[in-house]
């Protein structure tokens, strides 16, 4: 085992431990989840998930002609249907906190949940 190999192994161990620690220790759960939907870099929709009374869905069409149907329920949001072949965004299911966004690579769609909080409340007036 030479120095290069040891260095690589140490770095890999460090990265593994770091990523695992980050995933375990990070705070989850926002008390005021706001979902922002971005299509091809443009913010198209911002939904305050705490104010959603009953479930509804809507469809977004991207530049490439692909569509994503988004289902909004009180406190959570998901992609219900997509035209893309991989269906990864659909399989991801509901998200309700900011730990990870739903990303649809083929359609350049991102659904991200932020804490929202007072600044947004003030802006929403």
């Amino acid at each position: 085992m030479n120095r290069t190999a040891k260095l690589i192994l140490a770095l890999l161990a460090l990265l593994t431990a770091g990523s695992a620690a980050f995933l375990v220790l990070r705070p989850s759960g926002e008390d005021h989840p706001v979902a922002s939907i971005t299509l091809d870099g443009r913010l198209v929709e911002e939904i305050d998930l705490t104010k959603v009374q009953e479930a509804y869905s809507f469809t977004l069409e991207g530049e490439s002609g692909l569509t994503n149907t988004i289902l909004v329920e009180p406190g959570r949001i998901r992609v219900d249907h997509a035209d893309c072949p991989d269906q990864i965004c659909v399989n991801q299911g509901f998200i309700s906190d900011g730990t990870e966004p739903i990303v649809c690579l083929p359609n350049k769609l991102i659904i991200q949940i932020t804490g929202g909080g007072e600044a947004l409340d003030a802006a929403a007036g």
């Binding site: 030479n2 290069t4 190999a5 690589i8 192994l9 770095l11 890999l12 990265l15 593994t16 770091g18 990523s19 695992a20 980050f22 995933l23 971005t38 091809d40 870099g41 490439s64 893309c84 072949p85 991989d86 269906q87 990864i88 399989n91 991801q92 299911g93 730990t99 990870e100 966004p101 990303v103 690579l105 083929p106 350049k108 991102i110 991200q112």
Partner: protein, 171 residues
């Protein structure tokens, strides 16, 4: 022990054969159900061939096989949009493997694969960030680091066994 460089028709046939093997592995893996619903998390078994090519045939030939496999893979799976991501990741991983090729001995080849996998995932995320025009995709980085290291170790060991056995066979 490095075998003499393969030339002419023999080289073209060998590259075509390896591309076909890589593409077959890629297509079979694409049929497996998705275990983790996160973009970019996959076994990447076709990279066994890439690792083999980088270390046994050399960087240039490996790049040819990689590009052919990535392009044909996108065509055959009908997902041309993934071409950009695969190329971004593939080229970055190739670059790292070419560097590691000089540093690692012949029985440490398995170590290069997890490092290459990390850079592959990093390249994909950078392309995604560019295409989507947002850094939000970086939220996936810890997942991709973990999965890249695990799957990279697996494909790296596969490539190591392959190369060690073929060395013993004397090709």
């Amino acid at each position: 022990m490095t075998p003499p460089p393969v030339k002419g028709t023999r080289r073209i046939t060998l590259l075509a054969l390896l591309t076909a093997i890589a593409l077959t592995i890629f297509m079979i893996e694409a049929q497996l159900p998705v275990l983790v619903p996160i973009q970019g998390v996959k076994l990447g078994l076709a990279n066994i061939i890439t690792v083999y090519a980088v270390f046994v045939l050399g960087p240039g030939d490996a790049l040819l096989i990689l590009c052919a496999r990535v392009f044909l893979g996108a065509v055959f799976s009908g997902q041309m949009m993934t071409l950009l991501y695969s190329m971004g990741g593939g080229l970055l991983a190739w670059l790292v493997m070419v560097l590691l090729r000089r540093l690692l001995t012949r029985d440490q080849i398995w170590l290069c694969s997890p490092v290459a996998a990390i850079f592959h995932n990093l390249g994909q995320l950078l392309v995604a960030a560019g295409v989507m025009k947002t850094w939000a995709v970086m939220a996936y980085l810890p997942y991709l680091l973990l999965s890249g290291i695990i799957t990279g170790l697996f494909t790296g060991l596969c490539a190591q066994f392959l190369i060690s056995r073929l060395d013993r066979l004397g090709r």
